[in-house]
């Protein structure tokens, strides 16, 4: 079987409204070797930043002011310019039906809060590998 080429993560765009969790996510990603982390506070800011930043990955919270994570993901996937950027939810909405909504909105994966900050990067890579195996971003 041909080995799949995994995407490399250099820049991550984060949409998270809690400033404390923003810090934890940034340090977790840095711990995993990702130094370019762009922080936004809601879905609207995220959509505004995505054209400018062109990230390799977007991490989305679900409950955010202005535009929630589900709607943000739908808009990202509807835009030909951004639909190929993998989106992963990182959220405290942990119920099965909530995860299903997230995946239906076009996300690659769904990670629950609280998360292990020392393995966040590995969990992201594992989801990217699964996505690559399925052939979707």
């Amino acid at each position: 079987m041909d080995s799949l080429k995994l995407p490399t993560i250099h820049k991550v765009l984060v949409a998270e409204d809690d400033p404390d969790i923003q810090k934890v996510i940034r340090m977790s990603l840095r711990h995993g070797g990702v130094n370019d982390v762009v922080l936004t506070a809601d879905g609207r800011e995220c959509l505004a930043a995505v054209d400018r930043e062109r990230p390799d990955l977007i991490l989305l919270d679900v409950s955010m002011p202005n535009l929630d994570g589900y709607q943000t993901c739908v808009q990202l996937k509807a835009n030909p310019e951004t639909k190929c950027i993998p989106v992963i939810f990182l959220t405290a909405k942990v119920q099965m039906h909530e995860a299903e909504v997230g995946i239906k909105s076009g996300a690659l994966g769904y990670l629950s809060k609280p998360f292990d900050p020392l393995t966040l990067h590995e969990q992201i890579l594992a989801l990217l590998a699964k996505g690559a195996a399925r052939g979707n971003p």
Binding site: I21, V24, S63, Q95, M96, P114
Partner: protein, 268 residues
Amino acid sequence: MNDSSCTCILDSLTSGILAVDLDSRVLFVSAALCRRLGLERDAWLGKPAAELFGPANPRIPAKRSALYRLDPRRDGAKSEYREIEWSDGNRIVHLREDSSPLYDQAGQLTGRLFAYHDLSWEKTIDQMKSEFIAVASHELRTPMTSIKGSVDLILGGCAGEVSSEALELLEVAHSACDRMIRLINNILDLSKIEAGQIQLHLERIDLAIVVERSLRSLNALAGQAGITLKQNFPNGLPPVDADRDRIEQVITNLVSNAIKFSPANRGS
């Protein structure tokens, strides 16, 4: 007491009453049940209950057939209760159905008596409780993410070196965080179980591996209590279809309780 007085008494009950004879024909239906289900009393009397409730009548959705289930002859001596849903296609009414045999004055079985209690309010309260727990779980997870994340990053060396004393205190905080998260998860699980929303992910698993994982996570707790955990599996233990995480949760809870409630220093 004459029939008219009995009817008045039964009509004054807030619970719905239905009586059928041995041929399952409707003998009596109370005003409360007629009101709750929006049906005409006269239309019910003398008719086979199966016709009124059964799916044979195309105007009546199949779910209504759940209202009438027991055969008065076959199930004559049984008293039963259960929760049911009644629907006329536009609305759903949650009811508790109690049923018991109906006897005449000579003690002869003459039919069956059903009492229907409206559970709509209880269902509404249940729904509100589930929603509250889901919101509380979400609201508690947010600060827990910051606390656990910060503590774990410091423990992982991401914030530079820390003294051994600080490290020890951080380990305490880390352990308490994990415990708090387990408690939040358990509350959410309990709510899901009560609401019948728990979903199991069955897969072929090796029970020995699951037990080993559970015991490994409890070794520290057992050590503090002066207890040694031992495992002994029979040879050729077959794989089973189960939800790995849930089985691990069950074993962990059982052994953890056994550790907590066993006298200290009892060996293994």
